[in-house]
């Protein structure tokens, strides 16, 4: 950047872009004036958070080790990218974001412990974190007790709402209902077979799906099977599928089981181009392990796919790959994690403060027009209005979007008639 003596507009733009890409090391070299002086600290921080005249501390709390590192690595990467971009563009209320990262180590009590450390010792103004529902449930009491603010990125089963959490992923009805409507209309599906891992998220999601199938679509569920987490042998249930011949296989299998299930389905000669399969647990991240050729033809319902065509997403994908490598893929949750820091920034600017109580109120109706998934808005219930999309898995590990809900879908974490 040393040779940039020209002060023209173009050069300034280019420099800004370069800084955004160069990342944190470059930021340290920036003169302090790069962060336009914001309002005085005494005004924006009345609750003793770690905010100085130049810095504000934000925590990142995910599993970088243990079983869940497979999934949570993408979220960490996205959050760091968003924070770097925000810092490069001048920070929040004139303050640069400083990250303190803690490792939840795939162990739920550790999440609670580390959440307490981030809130009590480090006085983080906000925390981006948690992935599984179990880790969120463990950390939630800590956030409520010490009045912290958590941005939670994963699509989840719903039935929860907290002043101290902003849910940037979809709750179950947002993910499931529109896609069931689509498969009923588009594929004329009359019979469904559910296969899931045996824990709260698949069971709650399938309960909602079953109610919708039986009461709204007036069609039938011909089978519902759950397997322990880590189960690796699916030949028996595949035989059941061959016997019952459902129009749609509806799956929410997770983790290593997911990989085993699709490999064995393929080996058993079930061609997903002929047999409709709808899943709510496979993103680009999972396909990495499953192998694109093993799952090609399946439909996944999410709100975001890496292949989405819009200018925001093209920018996001390019920046993500630039920072984390050409071979990385971006799944639904990774994108939702990217939203967290931006939503927090905009909420702080709207409230003119970092105080959690003010942000909890100001969050309602915050809009993010630059979201890679398109436009999102925070609902009063702290979930996001977002679109639902259905996409077909391609052999190269990417998805081709075949359906997009025409309107934003209202988050409804406590759906009446679905419990």
């Amino acid at each position: 950047m040393a040779d940039e003596t020209n002060n023209g507009l173009q050069s300034a733009l280019r420099r800004r872009l370069l800084m955004g890409l160069a990342g944190a090391p470059a930021l340290a070299l920036l003169p302090r004036q790069a962060f336009a002086a914001g309002p005085p600290t005494s005004v924006v921080n009345t609750s003793g958070l770690a905010v100085t005249d130049t810095e504000v501390t934000v925590g990142i709390l995910h599993s970088a080790t243990g079983t869940m590192a497979i999934s949570e690595t993408g979220s960490i990467q996205a959050e760091k990218l968003a924070i770097e971009e925000i810092n490069a563009a001048g920070g929040v209320l004139g303050r640069k974001i400083k990250i303190i990262q803690e490792d939840g180590a795939s162990d739920w009590p550790t999440f609670a412990e580390k959440a307490k450390k981030l809130l009590v010792n480090d006085k983080c103004a906000a925390v981006m974190g948690c992935w599984t529902s179990a880790s969120r449930k463990a950390a939630l009491p800590v956030f409520e007790q010490y009045n912290g603010l958590l941005y939670y990125p994963t699509f989840y089963e719903g039935l929860e709402q907290s002043k101290n959490v902003i849910y940037t992923g979809q709750e179950a009805t947002q993910q499931i209902l529109a896609s069931l409507n689509w498969v009923a209309k588009e594929k004329g599906a009359k019979t469904f077979f559910f296969i899931g891992s045996d824990y709260i998220w698949p069971r709650t999601s399938n309960k909602i799906a079953r109610k919708h199938i039986e009461n709204v679509l007036k069609t039938k569920v011909v089978g519902e099977e759950y397997f322990p987490l880590g189960h690796t042998q699916f030949n028996s249930v595949i035989n059941k599928l061959k016997l019952t011949k459902p129009d749609v296989i509806f799956t929410d299998v997770v983790g290593g089981s997911n990989v085993a299930f699709y490999k064995q389905l393929k080996a058993a000669g079930i061609d997903l181009n002929k047999q409709t399969l709808l899943t709510i647990s496979v993103t680009e991240d999972e396909i990495d392990g499953i192998g694109g050729e093993n799952i090609a033809g399946a439909y996944s319902c999410m709100k975001y796919f890496q292949s989405l065509k819009n200018p925001n997403n093209e920018k996001f994908v390019a920046a993500f790959k630039k920072m984390w490598g050409e071979k990385t893929v971006i799944g639904d949750v990774t994108q939702a994690a990217y939203l967290g820091p931006y939503l927090w920034k905009m909420t702080c600017e709207k409230a003119g403060s970092f105080d959690v109580d003010k942000l909890a109120v100001a969050s309602t109706d915050i809009e993010f027009k630059g979201a890679p998934e398109g436009y999102v808005k925070i609902h009063q219930n702290h979930h996001l209005w977002s679109k639902t999309r259905v996409a077909k898995a391609l052999p190269n590990g990417q998805f081709e979007v075949v359906y997009e809900s025409p309107e934003l879908i209202e988050p409804n974490p406590f759906p009446k008639g679905y419990q």
Binding site: A64, T65, G66, T67, A69, I70, T73, D198, E224, E225, Y226, F227, P228, G230, H231, T232, Q233, N235, S236, V237, I238, N239, K240, K242, L243, G255, G256, N258, V259, A260, K263, Q264, K266, A267, A268, G269, D285, D288, G289, I290, G291, G292, E293
Partner: protein, 308 residues
């Protein structure tokens, strides 16, 4: 539940279900063989067994990428090379571990449990640092993908048949090695009476090292074969460890025949119950049955009769 189906449908399903049970049997046996040798013959509780399997899986992954990049012409045959390398890699690591860790703990068998559990955590984090936290996809040669169409309804997955064949070969190989070779005689001698075996000139330390290495090597082959049906990630080994111990303990620790019988009965129960009930319930009932039988017969299905 069968009222709606025709007789041909049903017989086809039962045939396929039989195959499913046999495939499960092969998978269980293959993963338990290595442990049966280590736990059964040496009394070492190897909690890192799953990680030795995953080492084999990663070796297979490396082979597949190497062959794709440099020897695409031989890609169809890479799986055999991968299995041999997996055996060597896991076996070598096993011998190293025996030399550096296990041999100091032979007199404290319960401490091996802790030590190997620690080892499994170290290996997991090593895989994570080297290969990344995400699961890797192992590309298969095309002849291993798909299924053989026997009739209209009956289809048998090729990789299932392949696993069956590998298991059969290795079981026969192990049986031969243990009961018909000089090495096997030495291993059994050391198991039955260590001081006496030493006294007649058997290098017991060397026998220990090779036995441990052999068990780990077979785990490596199992891991390599399972890339066809399961996931390959830093923690995938954990998926197998419980079932593996279950089979070895249920069969009677020191008996190869016991391991085979135990793998067969558990897999058949599991797969039949899974078909008639649901996945989780089947697992619960299988485990309850195993617990019940072990209460009545704590030494397992088969035991060696040894004079104590």
């Amino acid at each position: 539940m069968f009222g709606d189906y025709s007789l041909t449908d049903l017989s086809a399903i039962f045939a396929m279900q039989g195959f499913a049970g046999l495939i499960l049997f092969s998978v269980y046996l293959l993963m338990a063989l290595g442990l049966a040798i280590i736990f059964g013959q040496m009394g070492v509780i190897n909690m890192a067994h799953g990680e030795f399997m995953i080492l084999g899986a990663y070796v297979t992954y490396l082979c597949s990428t190497f062959f794709q990049a440099h020897l695409p012409g031989l890609f169809t045959a890479y799986f055999f090379v991968a299995m041999a390398l997996a055996f060597l890699a896991s076996g070598a690591l096993g011998m190293l571990v025996e030399w550096s860790l296990i041999r100091h703990l032979y007199k404290r068998p319960l401490d091996t449990l802790l030590a190997t559990w620690g080892l499994s955590l170290i290996l997991q984090q090593t895989y994570r640092s080297v290969f990344g936290a995400r699961e890797v996809g192992v590309e298969l040669p095309s002849w291993l993908i798909g299924s053989v169409q026997v009739t209209d309804m009956i289809e048998v997955p090729i990789n299932g048949i392949f696993v069956m064949a590998v298991t059969m070969l290795i079981t026969v190989g192990v049986a031969f090695l243990m009961y018909r070779s000089r090495f096997g005689a030495q291993v059994r001698a050391v198991v039955q009476n260590r001081p006496m075996a030493g006294a007649v000139g058997i290098d017991t330390e060397k026998v220990d090292r090779y036995t441990f290495g052999l068990g780990c090597g077979i785990a490596g082959i199992a891991g390599s074969a399972f890339t066809m049906i399961g996931s390959t990630g830093p923690t995938s080994g954990q998926l197998y460890i419980v079932d593996t111990f279950l089979i070895v303990v249920f069969g009677g620790a020191a008996s190869l025949l016991g391991t085979i019988a135990s793998a067969f009965s558990i897999s058949q129960t599991q797969s039949t119950l899974e078909f008639f009930l649901s996945g989780s319930t089947a697992k619960v009932i299988t485990l309850l049955a195993v617990v019940g039988i072990l209460m009545l017969r704590p030494q397992g299905l088969f035991t060696l009769k040894v004079r104590r």
